[in-house]
Symmetry: C2
DNA sequence: TATGCTTTTTAGGCTAATCTAAATAATCTA
DNA sequence: TAGATTATTTAGATTAGCCTAAAAAGCATA
């Protein structure tokens, strides 16, 4: 029942980043890893880690790395909830394209209001996933996600559904659009090139395309 | 066609405040006036005025006061546009009550995006006024407002329509609800008490209520 | 117009979030 | 396992936005 600590926007961004890098709290995260992700300097990260430690959302082991705490995980999930619900709003209600919403949701996720996000959730009809296929945590921070694997690791000739993207940068999403790869498409690996790990893919039992390893490692599919 | 300066959230709040206090750019605004409005210290205001001066959104005359510049006025109107459109969204789409939206809109007005606000405007059906009856500036910062007067100054026995509120604090708006005073109501001053300037008001040709001078000075009506 | 009150600015400090440069700890490798 | 290399932290600055206390400017009025 302990109240959640209140964080600044910068602290929220760091915590969310730590949550993602730790694979949802499973792994130790490094200072340089965070710095690379947030696009800041390691020295700035160290400063911030001390603040987050003080607020008890992370366990910080000097020179070793950080773990997200139980309450930190909940705080992170509630920020992610806001981020993803706003993304749904932007795409479903305002007509934004899926490659345009990241930047705006990055700001909207920090709006503070007890009621706002739950009313937004209701208004949107309690969506389960955001425009990138990522699951939306509920009010209690509980997230239900189906098992998914990287397209790069999909067994050859096995059908799978394009469920979500790992990378949400405009340049990647626009490239997927150009390739004709959309969330929900049925995909099958027809051929795998051992030299460069590029793949030949069939989309919806129809057209076939070639994609590089880089692309295949940013697409998540659910088997069968 | 000079580009508009980019302001921090704090700078935006100050500029909007100066716009309001100056009556839309007509009057010189004082340091203490701003401090009282923003709930900060005069010394902090002086610091901020220097920053706003540097960004050319105000003309600052030391020890005299500040005027908003042409570009400052446009910037302020675009912030006000965002504030009011978000308020409409919160009330019309999410079901908030008119006394709950100020605080949230105060945050949402600072979200940066070239497209967001125009898409929101479209989604909302290009509303003309916000939930407090205040007119919404268009993309170019142009505002069309009908002539309105304080209920406190309305001629006795003359019908007028309740158009907007000057004060948007929850406590005032809740009191109006309790009194049965809603935007759009027809009001008529039946009696005016010269001692304390309280008024007897008839609402929609029906019930009559007594209101204090303080209330009457925060209600705007359009005659006829 | 001198004097005192009010308003405003200045001076100096604080915190949050960033940075660069230097120091130190951890890890890799020969 | 001793260096070398890499990762991380510390030290010391900077900027934005705020503060208090003190100085200075403006004004009111007798
Ligand atoms: Mn963010
Ligand atoms: Mn997303
Ligand atoms: Mn604001
Ligand atoms: Mn309003």
């Amino acid at each position: 029942m302990g109240n959640l600590p209140s964080l600044t926007s910068a602290e929220e961004n760091y915590l969310k980043c730590i949550y993602h890098l730790s694979g949802g709290g499973k792994m130790l995260v490094s200072t340089n890893g965070i710095a690379a992700e947030i696009q800041t300097k390691p020295a700035s990260v160290t400063d911030m880690l001390k603040k987050l430690q003080k607020k008890q959302v992370i366990d910080y082991y000097k020179y070793k790395g950080v773990n997200i705490t139980r309450s930190g995980k909940l705080v992170a999930l509630l920020i992610i909830r806001k981020h993803r619900l706003w993304e749904v709003f932007l795409v479903e209600k305002l007509g934004f394209h899926w490659d345009e919403v990241e930047e705006i949701a990055e700001q909207l996720e920090h709006i503070r209001s007890i009621n706002l996000i739950n009313k937004l959730d209701h208004f949107l009809g309690y969506p389960r996933v955001d425009p990138h296929g990522d699951p939306i945590p509920n009010e209690d921070g509980i997230i239900e996600s189906k098992p998914k694997i990287l397209l790069a690791k999909l067994t050859q000739d096995k059908e799978a559904r394009f469920i979500s993207v790992k990378n949400t940068s405009p340049i990647f999403l626009q490239y997927l659009d150009k390739l004709g790869l959309h969330l929900g498409s049925d995909l099958k690996v027809l051929d795998r090139n051992e030299f460069d790990h590029s793949l030949q893919i069939m989309i919806n039992q129809g057209s076939t395309i070639f994609i590089s390893r880089d692309v295949a490692e940013n697409i998540l599919v659910s088997e069968q």
